[in-house]
Symmetry: C2
Subunit: 386 residues, 2 copies
């Protein structure tokens, strides 16, 4: 994957600043602006019924498939702040729009950080004023300004013949002390309709972000936005769009899994042999969310009995007497019974592949990626929030 940022594709500029929202003094606001000529956009948002104010505002903004800018802040999620939270999100949106000379609903807003604290609006206003005066080739700085407990910034760049896709992301699921949220922005200078963008984004999200399940928690703020401006003059086919956006999302999801809080193992769980892909996904998720399974992974313990006990509770068709499990390609359970040498399989490496066949002969297959449950996870997530 070539190097590049969200300001590498033609016609996108960005800025980042330290508005003082984060106590750490790290940068905490960013603005990415699409200079056109087209302003097609698509987005997917958290399925959580409790939605942060910026999610409500951005859903409205992207509902017409058009977007000219995205304003980010880290350090405060602006979630569970009632009517004042909504008003604050709208004020930030309107202020950025006014500076940029666009309509308010041309601007989406994304927040990540502590839930239940009002945005410090004096700092946010001053931050917006700085950002609009500092726009340029600052994709790297923007990617850094949206980090919360991320230890590295996350970007993915896809170069095609005459056009490209830049992207940045942060976080994964809800992982840190109330520092919620996965935020992703994907931009491209190809000419792509908003319908085609939405299709590509949903297809990519389904098998990347939606199958990345670190702790079963879903943020109030999760947002993925894609913008296309046609500045390259190239109109790729839907297949080409799908492939490029998939590639960027896949890379960001990989980076998120690798940087998950407290991770000592990257675990991929593939389930097959059930009625359909949805049931396979249910089963893979059920295993990936089982704390006993996750603790075993932390302990490099080839304890396949926990895999069977976990999957037995999944909403998926299975033959309870014909389930097979492989760890790192080695059979540890065949026909629901231990395989010779199962306890000696080496799981000491960082990557563990778990394959489960539910034994019905059905065509369903799905993969979920997760991590182990470590002391560090507990440590990070039990620290006092205030």
């Amino acid at each position: 994957m070539t190097q590049g940022t969200v300001t590498t594709p033609k016609g996108f500029v960005a800025a980042a600043t330290t508005a003082g929202i984060k106590p750490s003094g790290n940068s905490d606001m960013a603005l990415v602006v699409n200079e056109g000529p087209e302003f097609n956009a698509a987005a997917v948002y958290t399925r959580n019924r409790v939605k942060a104010s910026p999610v409500k505002v951005s859903r409205e903004a992207t509902s017409n498939g058009q977007l000219k800018a995205v304003l980010f802040n880290s350090g405060n999620a602006n979630a569970c702040n009632g009517a004042q939270g909504d008003a604050d999100a709208r004020e930030a949106q309107a202020r950025a729009a006014e500076h940029l000379g666009v309509a308010a609903d041309d601007v989406a807003v994304c927040s990540t950080g502590l839930i239940g604290e009002l945005l410090p609006m004096d700092k946010v206003r001053a931050g917006v004023d700085v950002l609009v005066g500092a726009l340029g080739d600052n994709g790297q700085a923007a990617a850094e300004a949206i980090m919360t407990t991320d230890t590295v910034s996350k970007q993915a760049f896809v170069q095609r013949d005459g056009w490209s896709v830049g992207s940045m992301g942060k976080g994964v699921g809800m992982m840190a002390p109330s520092l919620a949220t996965m935020l992703v922005l994907v931009v491209t200078d190809a000419s792509i309709s908003n319908e085609a963008l939405q299709q590509a984004l949903e297809k990519a999200s389904e098998v990347t972000f939606n199958t990345l399940d670190i702790d079963g928690s879903t943020s109030t703020n999760d947002t993925v936005i894609v913008m296309a401006n046609g500045a390259s003059g190239i109109t790729p086919s839907q297949d080409e769009v799908d492939a490029a956006i998939m590639e960027a999302c896949q890379s960001l999801a990989d980076q998120m899994q690798g940087d998950a809080e407290g991770v000592t193992k990257r675990v991929s769980i593939t389930v097959r042999g059930t009625a359909n892909n949805e049931q396979a996904l249910n089963a893979a998720r059920t295993i990936g969310r089982d704390n006993l399974f996750k603790c075993a992974m932390f302990g490099s313990d080839p304890n396949w009995g926990r895999t069977l006990a976990a999957v037995g509770m999944a909403d998926a068709e299975m033959d309870p007497d014909n389930i097979s499990v492989m760890f790192n390609g080695q059979p540890v359970c065949v026909a629901s019974t231990g395989a010779p040498g199962a306890r000696d399989v080496d799981l000491s490496g960082m990557d563990i592949a778990v394959e489960v066949d539910l034994g019905t002969g059905g065509p369903g297959v799905a993969t979920v990626r997760t991590t182990d449950l470590s002391h560090s996870y507990v440590e990070i997530n039990s620290a006092y929030s205030s």
Copy 2:
């Protein structure tokens, strides 16, 4: 609650022995025998599709509502052992039955311990032979012999006018390194039909064992059996039966929650204000299984935002803008917005009460009991299994 064991009610005898199944050298087999004159029985078993061999055998044995004895072993779950596991469970059942001069299907068998290891049948055979020769007033010893990582034996005794209920239990959910299973035996010398017993047991399980959700895991071996022999000559009403069995189950569930692996907090989560009790239970379970919520409890952190983020994913009707949360009786979130002083609520004690109103005005209400997610939980559950 008066003191008493499973051999305190008239007409029940028990024995315990050290067969050598546990590496620790602690006692690991027990037998409880109903001497009649009646042999009515009821049972509930794990909902896990992956069922241990003793669960399959005992389901058959209790299907006619009659039972004369229950044979227990700890240290080995006899789960995921294929046809050999089934054969071993049947052999143990038949051997006990032969010694007792009863039919094989008059004996239930219960196992708890490591999944995926064959029972050491030479030790089991010798153990059965010892047990049948040692029957007497050994309820306490039987309760100790079924312990795995339990730190204390668990018994509950209910004295009524002329009749009584004795009970013993072990474990809770799946909590230890492959040492699975909740096992419970309840006995009474009242005269109660098997239909009445089944009704009382299901009613009691619903609000005691089934709402005790430590880590969301469900064992392959979970079994609750109740036997009634009428030796007291007293026939209580259904209401009296329901109440007495409820009281015993409630006490055992309390003891299990208090002895859960790695527990530093006992957390009760009550949800109301949704369409019906089932939805309230879904919502309470969703909160109780959320690792971020559980880590906050471990940290004594009144981080109500995590409660909202967790419940927002629950399969329950809610008004996302009108959710309220109380910690230990103090409002921390009102109408989905932080309450004054919310961050200062004291959660330093061992017991934490969480009350959530989903704001729809609906009549649903349910309570789930869980524990925190501590370093100790991770430590215990990541230790190597073999």
